[in-house]
Amino acid sequence: MAYKKITIDPITRLEGHGKIEIFLDDKGNVAHACIQIPELRGYERFAVGRLAEEMPRITETICGVCPTAHHTCSGKTLDDLYGVEPPAAARKIREFVYNAFMFEDHNLHFYFLGGPDFIVGPDAPKAERNILGVIGKVGIEIGKKVIDIRKRTRNIIETMGGRVIHPVHCLPGGVSKPMTKEIQEEFKKTAEDSVEFAKFSLQAFADIVLANKTYVDLIVGDIYKHQTYYMGLVDDNNKINFYDGWIRVVDPEGKEFAKFKVKDYLDHIAEGVESWTYIKFPYLKKVGWKGFVDGKNSGVYRVAPLGRLNASDGMATPLAQGYYEKFYETLGGKPAHNTLATHWARLIEAMQAAETMVQLINDPEILDTNVRNMDFQTPKQGIGVIEAPRGTLFHHYETDDKGVLTKANLIVATVNNSAAINMSVEKAARSLIKNGQVNDGLLNMVEMAFRAYDPCMACATHTINGHVPLQIDIYNADKEIIKTLKTV
């Protein structure tokens, strides 16, 4: 069968470089589509032979976007490796900084990455589908408000973490410094303002997206829907927790399928490989890998905001819980399989992060100066987990008795979603591209399928490459380019 090949490479508004390929049959309909994501590219091997205590500083350079997630997860992994429990104040400082990071990162996605699709519109001219288009739509004053709260929450990371991009506060058994009363007072205000900002964002989502029938139809429609398993960290009451807890998995009907501690993750998660990409495809071991298909018999699971909401019994804070209830009421019950609803779930999580910041910063114990437990045991193996903005993140280190790494395994958030992202891209492409009709607007709607996951492709380099970030090549059956579309 003759087919055309469409390549989107690299993808706009994503960390790193990825490539979408869409293969059309001779009638111009989608035969197959996939996304290739370069991932990690050797960090696990690079780590071997280094001291484990360097890992919080090394792994956070995987990505310029979610370094705090890698740093904190690595710190937790070192706690396990050295058999130490951080003092209460240290844990609270870590959690406070981490929730500030979650809040900031989720807002970044809504206003800068996913937001343009909805705030400006999925079929708006490409030159307007960016932050400047968002500002044009919502106004300069609101734009400044976004920048201001982002700067202030990042200041929390910088103050406690030493650096905003690659913080250094997490050490095995605690953190590098205690919190002072003066800093606490400043952060109380930031935390309270974060709650107000989260309310504002959720109202903006209601006004701009939920009040628009076309957008709601897009969210609940079949184009962006997959019935998969879901995974996320929950506390003892099955409420969402970003920092620690049980890893809970629910099936496509919402029933609890598994609940385990991270030390047992290899009993539940396996990683498959495909010949056409070097990214791994994690799946539920007890269900098995059945390929890129959804349903109860397929081990494909999803993480990130939608996955976390589905895998939990609710939010851990009161205001977020109210929005959570509205979320499922609107989407017709639980679990919600609507990929684009991830944007909404993200804002509800931002609310929980802000409320958690308020709780933690007002806890007198956070000022305790005992922030390090150095009763280290001889290292052998450490396993840690955290909920990164983009989903569940696993770090697993093995060392000799001097703490020199002999093995490292990282399952990063985007990788957990890699099978689902491929499925979503293919389904959107099949639904939207018909009879050879391929235009920029349609391709953006295909991109929306994976942008909802907020995937991080971790190029982790900053070389000025001079390349156009989005190029679509259309090939004929002889692999000759017959048309090139350039976005941006």
Binding site: G64, V65, L113, H462
Partner: protein, 152 residues
């Protein structure tokens, strides 16, 4: 007194991508002028906007890949000649040019002059804290040019 920011960019574990960081570290030792602030890191366009507000002049030091350049070639690039597509920052957020446009739109005090010293690189895939030989050889030249510029 006019204030200058020098910012070295790069990933510390990606071979030639470390060039901006290495140059910034040398400049931190060699430049004593108190009107000059020297920083380094791996930073996105939006975060860079936070960094540059309030400075009169900004010098970025980064790696670059061009089609015809040779490893170690040094370019001084006026900001206007870089398109907003160039990944001067992580594409996950926004590029630096877009961040600048946003800053101007918001009425922030933006630097009068912004330019980039960029070194043509050979390898930013290999995990290494060291640059390749050809790229390392360019470091003295870039350091000297930036020091001369600051002294002007």
């Amino acid at each position: 007194m006019k204030k200058t920011l020098i910012y070295g960019m790069g990933n510390p574990y990606r071979c030639d991508d470390t060039i901006g960081l290495k140059i910034a570290e040398i400049l931190k030792k060699d430049i004593k002028n108190k009107t000059v602030t020297i920083k380094s890191g791996s930073i996105d366009g939006l975060a860079m906007l936070d960094e540059i507000i309030g400075f009169d002049k900004v010098i970025l030091v980064d790696s670059i890949n061009t089609k015809s350049g040779m490893p170690g070639d040094v370019y001084k690039i006026e900001l206007d000649s870089i398109t907003s597509n160039s990944s001067l920052a992580a594409s996950h957020t926004i590029d630096f040019i877009t961040a600048l446009r946003m800053g101007k739109k918001f009425g922030y005090k933006m630097p009068e002059k912004i330019y980039v010293y960029a070194v043509e690189i050979k390898d930013n895939d290999t995990f290494s804290e060291e640059c390749t030989e050809q790229v390392s050889a360019s470091i003295p030249e870039v350091v000297k040019r930036i020091i001369d510029e600051v002294d002007e």
